[in-house]
Symmetry: none
Subunit: 125 residues, 4 copies
DNA sequence: GTGGTCTAGACCACC
DNA sequence: GTGGTCTAGACCACT
């Protein structure tokens, strides 16, 4: 379910975070579902347990999961916002990107053409 | 003309690279114009000469400038493509971003609204 | 495995680059093999770590190796082309050299004699 | 007659030296012909006179020209060897190149094919 | 004066 | 421990 790309420049713990979030947003993991234990995931992925721990700690800080001593880690209940959070983040980077393209003289029409192309491709794939 | 943001997570030498490219694309620096010398820019920005050197070396490798021992560094002659290169790069990251937004269920119409908002803001600023 | 000639006019970091490439082409280093760490190689060769770093950075840029923060540097996977790349480069300088020799009035037969001499020497050594 | 390429990585004074040698070998400049004065050439090429002086000094050291105080610089009399000198130098770099190609597994036949191609091209051009 | 290379030693993020 | 960035200061070849 969770995979890591060692050659990616993104740190492993960030890949783990994004991976879990994706599973939650897609509904694969639902509220109060148990996550794999730190040790189990560490051996499965052949990764240092510290790295898994770092990802879980950050996920808990962001309110995506909660951990119970001696029990394990579980998907948080107030997950509804997660999608909105991510959309908000992406919208922000989208805004920066558009501003740069504007300053390079790319017209609004050209952008919209790109948008429509991508949406057509994604819908049919 | 060239400024550095020490708080930015982006390395100084990358900021320098982007800064020079921007000046070239905007036409402030034209072909065969001389850039500030490594040492002069270093003292101006209160930065170590090595860091400037690293940026200039990378700019030369990318074909944006050329450097002559004992003479200085100059804007390259075949600069015309630079804008197109950058637009192409940004379009690629735009495509990735749009695909992610699509998968999060954001509609084409919402995206286009964002595009129009940003373009309106940038035009009036 | 890796040696440096301090008397050589070629910069140390270039010697390192060529040295690693040679080991890869000869098959001593295979895909995903780990290279010595920046610090370890630095102490082994009694060279500053920055110089090693510079060489590794350039090797990564050329696609010969890939580096992972906190893990190490490794031989890239798409190494097959490296020999062809180098042969192509050498052929280009060979062509320039031959053109010069031609214009100095050296005959094709004289060149071929040189070629055969060198190949005989190398084969028996 | 003499041209400089500022963008070439080769130092200007070396370009001057090679340029003069080429003119001598080609017979454009014959023994005891007068070379342009340091000042005249400096203004013609928009170059610092020091650089011209450095080239002339080196040419005199190599026995290609001789200088007479207050009279000027002239092509030396024992010019016959010059072509041989240059051929010898080129042969040495050719030997190095061939050794590298040998170690990369390029066969003698492949080299000879290149030689014949180049010589055919140069002869018809 | 210019760019290019190198050393010595430091700090950071990551595993 | 690892690679990546930066500083401080030095030397070289070249103009």
């Amino acid at each position: 379910m969770i995979t890591i790309d060692y050659k990616d420049r993104k740190p492993i713990y960030e890949q783990l975070i994004d991976n879990v979030k994706e599973l939650v947003v897609k509904g694969v993991l639902k509220r109060d579902d148990q996550l794999p234990s730190v040790r189990q995931l560490a051996t499965n992925l052949a990764i240092n347990p510290n790295t898994i721990q770092k990802a879980y700690t950050e996920l808990e800080r962001q309110g995506v999961i909660y951990s119970l001593k001696g029990r394990g880690s579980f998907v948080a209940s107030n997950i509804i916002d997660l999608r909105e959070q991510q959309v908000a983040e992406l919208n922000q980077t989208l805004a920066k990107l558009l501003a740069e393209l504007f300053h390079l003289g790319v017209s609004k029409e050209q952008i919209i053409t790109v948008v429509e192309t991508i949406y057509r491709e994604e819908q049919t794939s």
